[in-house]
Amino acid sequence: MSEEVKAEVQAKIPAQAETPPPVMLPKGNELVLSSSPHIHAAENVPSIMFKVIIALLPAVFAGILLFGAAALLVIAYCIVFSVAAELLWCKLAGKPLSTVRDLSAVVTGLLLALNLSAGVPWWLCLIGAFIAIWLGKQVFGGLGHNPFNPALVARVALLIALPKYMTAWVPAKFMNGNAASYARQFFTPAAWNSVLGAPLDGVTCATPLGLVGTTAKVLGPAPGVFAEVANPTAYLQYFLGNVGGCLGETSALALLIGGLLLVLFKLIKWQIPVFYLGTVAVFTAVINYCFPGVTPPALFHLLTGGLMLGAIFMATDMVTSPMTEPGAIIFGIGCGIVTCVIRIWGNYPEGVSFAILFMNALVPLIDRFATKKPFGYHPWDRKKGAQA
C-alpha cells in the first residue's frame, strides 16, 4: 500500500470513531438456514398443472362445440367429483390438503371427462372420478407414486364394467351438416339424460373405428371395403372432430394445438407423441400395403379414435412416463405397437388406453436401463466408480 493510501486510512480511523455513520446493520436474529441453492425456478407443481389445463382448453372447447351442453356437463361433473374424491381421501387419510390445491385432481378430472362419451350419466362420472383418484392414484401413495395414468385406469375400468354406457356415442352436432339447427341442437336430450342419470337412448352413432371393426368382421378382408370411412372428405371431418366418439378425442386439430402448447411449455417430451404416432403410422401403412383390406390406411388410424388424445395427453403424463429421452422413444414405440396390434387384431376397436396402461407398467424397467451415461464414465463401463 502506498504512503498516500496509508495516510488516508489513518485519517479515516479517528474520523469514524468520532461520528459513527448512520448505518443500519442487520440484526441477524431472523436468519433462515437452508441448504443451497438459495434461489429457485418459478415453476412448481400447481403451475405445471395449470399449464396442462391451459393446453387442454382447445380440446375442451372443441368437445363443447361438437357435442353441446352435454359435454360441458360431463366435464363439470368429472372435475367436481375428482376434486371431491381427492378432498375426501385426504380428509380420511389425514393427509395435508396441499395436494388438493395443486390442481392435479382437476387435471385428472378433466382428462377423465375427455375420455368419456358426452352422453354418460352423472353417476358414471362419479364412479369414474373415485376410481381415478382413489384406485388410480391415492392407494399407491398419491401424486407422483401412481404407476398408471389415473384417468386411464378409470376409463378402462368403466369400459369393462359398464360397456353399455361407455360405448353409447353421441353424434357430433355438425355431423349431418345441419349447421342451421346447431343452436337448437346444442341442448340435446343427451344433456338431460346426463342430469337424470338415465342411459342414453335414441340418438347414438358409431365411431369410425367401430365401423371399421364391424366391417372387417362382416365382410372379411377385402380390398376397398374401407372406402366409405377412409377417404379425403372423411379425413377432413376426422381432423376437425366432426365424428362420434369420446368428447375430447375426436378433434385432432384441437389436440394438436394443445400438444404444441405442451411442447412450448416444456411439459412433455416431444419424443413420446412423435414416436407413438410415427409407429402407428408406419405399422398400419405396412399392414395396409402388404395385406390390403385388413386395415384402413395409416392416415385413418392417426386421425380416428383416441390416438391423438392418448399420444399427446395421456401417454405423456409425467408421473407415468419415462424420465429420459431414450426412454421416451422406447415408450412411444411400445405404445404404438400395442395400439396397432389391438386395433387390427384385437377384440376392441380401440387399443390406445390398453396400450398406454401396458407401457406404464414397463416404465420402471425402461427408466432403469434407458439412462444417460454419467459424466466421466466410459460408455461401456458406467459403474466403475461404484466398484472402486
Binding site: E30, L31, V32, L33, S34, S35
Partner: protein, 280 residues
Amino acid sequence: MEIFIAAVIAMAVIGLVLGGVIGITARLFRVEVDPRIELVAELLPGANCGGCGKAGCADFAKSVVTGENPPGKCPVASREQVAAIAQALGIEAGATVKKVAVVLCGGDRNQEKVQTLYNGVSDCVSASLIAGGPKGCAYGCLGMGSCARACPFNAIEVVNGLAVVHPRLCVGCGACVETCPRHLIKLVPRAAKVHIYCSSPEKGAAKMKVCSVPCIACRKCVKAGEEEQFVIDGFKVSVNYDAASLVGTDILGRAKCPTGCLLSETGHLKIEAAQTGEVA
C-alpha cells in the same frame, strides 16, 4: 377319462423327476451346519439389533458357538437367557455389564437461547451439514430424531426438541450411538443414574450465551462427591463411568448444580417423582 389318467401320470412323472433332482442336489451341495448354532439362535432374543457388533442374531450365535464371543455379550438377552445359552453349550456366561444409552445434552427448546429458523430435511445429519444446524450450541442435540429412527426398540423419544432415552426400553445395543452427528449418545453402565447433561467443550461464558443448562465446570459436583467419580476435561465435567463407585442420586441435593445440567435419568426425562419408581 383317458385325459385324467394321462394328466395324473404326467404329474406323477414330473413330480418324481423333480423330486429326484432336488434330492440329488441336496446331497451334492450339502452344507454342514453346526446344530448348536440353531440352538443358540433360538435362545437369543432375536432382536437383530446389532448391539453385539455382529450382523444379526444368527451371526452372533455362530460367534458364540465358535467361542469368539461369550453369550453375555448380547446386550438384549436377560441374565436368565444368557445363563440358558451358557448351560446349553457348557461354557462360561461371560461378564454382563448391562448398558444403557444416554443423550448427554439437556438443551431442549426451553433451555436453548439461540435458535435459527431451519428450512430443510428433518434429519440431524442433513441439518448439521448446513452451518452446523439451527441450534445455537454447536455441540447440542439437534432434536430431529435421527437416533430415534435408528433405535430398533423405540426407546428414544424427541421431547421438545431434545432426544431423551427411556431407560426402561433401552437395551443398550448402541444402534443410536453412530447416527448422532454430534456424538452426544454414550453407552453407560445401567447402574449410573446421574449424568452431566452437557457435551460442549466451549468456555462457560460461551456456553451460557446459547444455553441455560450448560456445564460451566464450576466443580460443585466434584467437591460434593468423590474426586474420582468425575472427569474434568477442560471446560466440562463429566461423570466417571469407570469409577469403582458410581455417583448416586444423593449427589443432586448436595452438589446444588447452579445451571442444572447435573441430572438424574428421570430428571432428564422430566418425569415427576411419583413416576420414578415405575421407570427405575
